[in-house]
Every structure is written in C-alpha cells, then in structure tokens.
C-alpha cells in the first residue's frame, strides 16, 4: 500500500473544501450548470439518467480494508446498499443526492479516497496490473510509477482542460493485464540489454467510436525520464489535438491524422527541451515514493502446505482453487481473484455487506489489502496458501467464490441503459442472461477462457472491441439491437474484433452466443485450442456460416 503523507492529506482536504464551495456557488446560482459541469466531473460527479453518480478513484487498483469498509459505508448511508466496480479500477455509486455529495466526499477523504480526475478532460486515474507487487512475472512494481504519475497529474495547471479525457495504463509484466495497448498512453515497463529499467511508450490506443490499437513511439525510455516524456506528449496533444469536434478530440485521432511518426517527432522535439529540467527523476525522488509503499511482512512458509493438500480432496474447493488462485512471487503465498460475477447478477456489483466481508477477510488473511482489476473482479494479492481453505469457506458463504474467472460468464459490461444517459441499449440484463445460459460450471470449464465484453453504446465503456466475443448495443427504430464481433483482445497481442454479421435483437443475443460457442466447440483443433486462437486461425467466416444459418 502507498501511505498518504501530510502533503497528500492536506491537498485532499483542500480539494474537498474547494468542491464544497463550488456546490454552494452552483446552488446559489453564481455558477451556471455549464460552468459547474467540468468542475463536478473532475471530482467524479456525473448526472445520470435517474440521479447523480459519484465515481471514486482506486489509484492503480489498490485499496486498504479500511478504505473498502468506508466505501461500504457510503453505499449504505448515501446510496442503495451497493456499488459498481468499473473497468478503470474505479467504483461508482449510482444514487447519491447532490446535497449529500460533499459529505460523502468528506467521509471518503478521511481514509484518503476521492473522486478526483475520475472524469473530465484531464489525466484520469492511472491504472495498472491488479497483481502488481505480487506476481513473479513483473520487472518492478508498476504502482511506484503509477503513483509518481498520479502525483504529477493531480490538478496539473497546464493539463486540466485538455481537448478530451486522457487515460494512462502501465504494465510491468510481459503478460499485459492492464490493457495498455488500448489506452491514450500505454507504458510497458521492462529492462533493456544492460539491465536498465525503462518504458516502451505507446500512444493513440483507445476504444469508443473510433477504436485504435496504440502505436509504439519509443521502444525504451529510461524510467527517470517518464515525467518529462509524458509532459512532452501532453503538451503536443494539448496544443494540437482537435477541439472542433468532441468525437475527434482524443489523442488517437491526432496520432492517426498526422501519423505516429510525425507525432513521435513532435514529442521528441519538445522532450529535448525539458528532459534534463525539473521533471527529471533522481534516485532520491524515486526512492522516496518507493519507501511510502509498505509491503507485507511475508513469512517463510511451505509452498504446498498440508492444509491445501487436504482441502483439495473437496471437489468444490479444488474447482475454485484451479480457477481463482494464481502463483505468487513468494513461496507459500497465493494471489486470489474474487469473482464479482455470480450467475445472474450485474457484473462488477458488490453489496455493502460483501464489501465488509472482503475487507474483514483482507484483514484476517491478506495483510489488509484488496485490488480491483479491469475485468471488474476483486483480488486479494497476498494470501498465505495454507489459509486458502478457510478463506474459500468464508467467500463461498458470502457468494463470492463463483469459480468462473476468465470463463464465458466472467463478463465485462458497462451500466448500459439501466443507468447511463448515453446508452442506446441495456448491457447488464444481456450479461445476466448469458451467464444463466452458461451457469453449468462443467460446461463453461469445457469451453475454457472466453472473454465476453458488452457495451450499451458506441462509447465502448464495456470494451466490446477487445472482447473475444464483443457485444455492442445500438438503437434501430426505437428498438435495441446488438452487433457481435469476434476475435478482439486487450492483452499484449491486442487487436480489435471483427464484425460477425447483421445486428440481432435483444431476445436473440443469448441464443446467438450459444451458437457461436457451439461453432467453436465444433471448429477447434483440440480442447487445448482457446476460443480466441480458433478465431485467429480460421477468421470469422466459418462462425458466420454456422451461426446465421440457424437464425
């Protein structure tokens, strides 16, 4: 965990006071709604279909148990008893009243949690791998660099009114769990031949109505230059990004229009002027931030304790263990994913009671720490392997042990037309119905890894372009229709899905998904070939023939 110091706490208190004053000026009429809107957005406050929505940042997906408990409190006191974890490592409360907002923010601020820059045309919450600091795969803890960027980007005077929002993601492992190739800037931390730590820098990725995979503009940037290089990128974008059309204002359009090479040249030219200036990170600065991250005091434990061996006799535990437990870098410890996708429930939702349970379990078994991943699941990154059976028993009792991580029912979905003012179609009920069709765990295990992503409109908050199966809700003559894409992925081999065929109606979607899965089971070369690999090998045509023949 990163521990806020007196500076962070002072800033947060000032920000809460600033927003309280802005709300008062809005209520008195001194601020028009037009003037207030960007200010509230930069504090995470949206006006949705039915109510104000408060989006809270979970910087790089890391939460303490006290912070999660405070979110449960906000859900209980100011909302309707639940919260929704998003694909950007944030949590949203959908039913908060404007007059309660400053107090809810003050309550959250007491534990160092806030909604700053979770919306608006500024640098948003920097996201990373939910297994940071725990996975044996990483070159360094990416949260150190996410925290440095969080501080740098917080209320940046030059970059608070950008052409459009700006999202940065970092991966420090070759296996990309942070979807860095579909962000405005993706940073891939690795070591060069000399063992030096640096970033590959990608720009111009993104989803929405004009999706692009990011382009690499620099293969290796020594870590000490990360802030000056980001500043150079931001400065080029802030001056030359389009402001004439909101749909063409993201950096991906600028990069596309002038070309990645010309963009890179502009960035390098700007960077040459500032690379050795005040933003250059010294070892002292990096060490100072690093020292504020507290790591668990790991004990020397057996890698395969007797408790685990005994528990594996229970087939239900064994199923969960194989699905939801992952290798930790310290022997005797494990990474545990907590599925927020129980069959038939809205993806990513957690009740206040469930949040309290997870917070208590984190205290008992996981060094008080919880993570949120972009797949809308939670994670306990540091659990002693010997404690897994007891942890599982308690998760199971709270309906938090559905062993469907990475299965077809582990669906990413945006809030859709049930909540969102922008949506054209529902997303949550589509996810619920698909997960019911594949509720049989033996069946879904037989299908293997398959990511279904659902967006209720072209803005793509449900990341449909990068779902192995992507589902996009559109509106046709006042009816909800859905376009299906196959073959998208958000990992280190990121690519955009290919349209399968004509859009289908709401009622037809679950059956169509079943047909696609049946086609895959028939087409795959062996049970070892994943869905995404079959699509990659054969293209969408054989799927199209089979699926549309039956409809």
């Amino acid at each position: 965990m990163y521990v806020y110091d007196e500076f962070d706490r002072a800033f947060l208190a000032e920000r809460v006071a600033d927003f309280r004053d802005q709300v008062e000026r809005r209520l008195s009429g001194a601020l028009s709604e037009d003037e207030f809107k960007p200010l509230r957005l930069m504090n995470g406050v949206y006006l949705q279909l039915h109510a104000y929505m408060l989006r809270i940042a979970i910087p790089y997906g890391t939460l303490s148990s006290d912070q999660l408990r405070r979110m449960a409190h906000v859900a209980r006191v100011y909302d309707r008893g639940y919260g929704h974890f998003t694909t950007r490592q944030n949590i949203q409360f959908n039913w908060i009243k404007l007059e309660d907002l400053p107090q809810a923010m003050a309550d959250l601020g007491e534990v160092g949690v806030h909604g700053i820059q979770t919306s608006g045309n500024c640098i948003r919450n920097v996201t990373t791998d939910q297994w940071a600091g725990a996975t044996p795969e990483e070159f360094d803890d990416p949260r150190i660099w996410a925290e440095i960027l969080r501080q740098y980007s917080t209320f940046h005077p030059e970059f608070t009114y950008l052409p459009r929002k700006f999202k940065i993601a970092i991966t420090a492992a070759p296996k990309d769990r942070a979807a860095t190739k579909v962000h405005d800037v993706g940073l891939r931390l690795h070591r060069n031949e000399d063992g030096e730590l640096g970033f590959e820098v990608l720009v111009g990725g993104g989803l929405g109505r004009t999706p692009f995979v990011g382009k690499s503009i620099r293969p290796f940037l020594p870590v000490r230059h990360v802030l000056s290089y980001i500043e150079a990128i931001m400065r080029v974008y802030n001056q030359f990004g389009r402001r004439d059309n909101i749909y063409k204002a993201r950096i991906k359009i600028l990069v596309h229009e002038i070309g990645a090479e010309a963009f890179a040249q502009a960035v390098e030219a700007e960077w040459a002027n500032i690379r050795d200036g005040a933003l250059k990170l010294t070892d002292e600065i990096i060490d100072d931030i690093r020292a504020r991250f507290l790591y668990p005091d790991f004990a020397a434990l057996e890698a395969e304790p007797a408790e685990l061996k005994a528990a594996l006799e229970d087939p239900r535990f064994a199923t969960w263990y194989r699905n939801s437990v992952h290798k930790h870098k310290v022997p005797g410890y494990s990474i545990v994913t907590i599925s927020l996708k129980p069959v038939g429930a809205p993806p990513g939702d957690a009740t206040a009671d469930q949040m309290d349970v997870v917070a208590d379990l984190a205290d008992a078994y996981a060094f008080h720490e919880i993570r949120v991943g972009h797949e809308q699941n939670l994670c306990l990154p540091n659990v002693a392997t010997k404690d897994l059976p007891e942890l599982w028993r308690q998760l199971d009792a709270a309906e938090l042990a559905t062993p469907n991580v990475n299965h077809i029912s582990d669906i990413i979905a945006c809030p859709g037309l049930d909540y969102c003012a922008l949506a054209n179609a529902r997303a949550i009920p589509v996810a619920q119905e698909i997960s019911k069709r594949f509720a049989d765990l033996d069946r879904s295990r037989g299908i293997g890894r398959l990511h279904v992503n659902i967006s209720g409109c072209i803005n793509a908050c449900g990341h449909h372009h990068v779902g192995h199966i992507g589902i996009l809700g559109v509106e046709k003559n006042g009816q909800e229709f859905y376009q299906i894409t196959l073959g998208g992925r958000a990992d280190e081999h990121a690519q955009l899905g290919t349209l399968l065929g004509p859009a289908v109606s709401y009622d037809q979607v679950p059956g169509l998904i079943e047909d696609i899965v049946d086609a895959y089971l028939e087409l795959r070369s062996s049970p070892k070939e994943l869905f995404i690999d079959t699509v990659h090998r054969l293209g969408v045509e054989p799927f199209k023939e089979r699926v549309y023949a039956t409809h």
């Binding site: 110091d5 500076f7 002072a10 800033f11 000032e14 920000r15 006071a17 600033d18 004053d21 802005q22 001194a30 003037e35 960007p38 200010l39 045309n121 501080q151 740098y152 980007s153 917080t154 209320f155 940046h156 005077p157 030059e158 970059f159 608070t160 009114y161 950008l162 400065r235 802030n238 001056q239 402001r243 002027n273 500032i274 200036g277 005040a278 933003l279 002292e284 600065i285 100072d288």
Partner: protein
C-alpha cells in the same frame, strides 16, 4: 472589465483596438490581434506607442519570438474556459521563450481557473464576472499543496518531500523553475 495584476485591481492602460476599428488612437498603449498588429507594423514602429499583442490559440507560440522585443504586453485567449491551449502557450512563453513582461489572460476567464492560470505564468487576469474579481484572493489561496513543478516558482511536492530529510535540506529552498532549470 476589471484588470487584476499580481493580485491587485489596477487600471488598464491598454486600449483594446478591434480589427475593424479604423484608426489607432495616438500615444496610448494598444492591445491588438495578430492580424491588426501585422497590418500596422510599420505605423506602430514610427508611432512609438506601447503595443500589446493577443496571440491566437491556433498558432504555435514559438512564432511570437521575433516580435517579443517590441511588445509591452502579451495576451492569450480562452475562447471558453474549457479550452486549455493557452496554458501550454503561457508556460512555453515564460519558460522556453523567456518572456518576463506582463502576460494577460483574456476571454472566458473565471474564478475556478485563476490559480492554474497563475501557475502557468499569467500575472494579469481579466475576469468576466465582477464577483470573481472580488474573490481573487480566496481563489488564489484555495490550495497550498502543489504536486508538479511549473515555471511559477512555487515549490512542488517533487522537491518538498525531499526537503523533509535533513540530508537534502539544500533542495528545500530552491525553486522548481521548469524547463530552464
């Protein structure tokens, strides 16, 4: 409209001359658009009046460099408060081009942006709303903690954190003058 310079309400010596106004007033400082400035370049040289220039948002600020020696004021525009191009122009003007003279924020200038304008290098502000002018002092002091260095000389957290440790006390007093540092 009121003019605030370095926190104080002051008289505006400059007359803003629109492009369509026929003649330039004699012996009074004038604030001109780039088009007008270029059109009157020769006349202005001989008239010996102080000239202020409103640099457009859509031209790279580096191109102002040849004119700077003849200017008494530079103004940058905010067509709406949501358009942040002038923040980058301001920082480049101060930190890259070394402009030490007055730098004025004009256009849709509102209270909630005063502080970031100052941090970007503006020392003159023309607020749209009279009430905002009254609240200038409060707006400028709404924050005491700044995470990132700019050219405004305020100490940023990047250095302040280090200032806590006695061994690095020498960093404590130095400013974070941006690109030029």
């Amino acid at each position: 409209m009121p003019l605030i310079e370095n926190g104080k309400l002051v008289e505006d010596r400059f007359i803003r001359v629109a492009d369509e106004d026929e003649t330039l007033p004699a012996s009074t400082p004038v604030l001109l658009s780039l088009d007008r400035f270029l059109k009157e370049e020769e006349a202005l040289k001989s008239a010996n009046v102080e000239v202020g220039l409103i640099w457009p948002n859509n031209k790279p600020i580096a191109e102002i460099a040849p004119y700077l020696p003849r200017l008494a004021l530079v103004a940058l525009n905010f067509p709406t408060f949501r358009d942040g191009r002038a923040y980058s122009q301001a920082r480049l003007l101060r930190e890259r081009l070394g402009w030490k003279g007055p730098l004025r924020a004009v256009g849709n200038v509102l209270r909630d942006q005063f502080l970031i304008m100052a941090r970007s290098g503006f020392d003159q502000i023309v607020p749209v709303k009279p009430a905002d002018a009254q609240a200038f002092d409060a707006a400028m002091h709404s924050y005491t903690v700044f995470y990132q260095p700019t050219g405004d000389g305020r100490k940023s957290l990047l250095r302040a954190r280090l200032g806590r440790s006695a061994t690095r006390a020498d960093d404590n007093g130095s400013s974070d003058r941006g690109a030029a540092a």
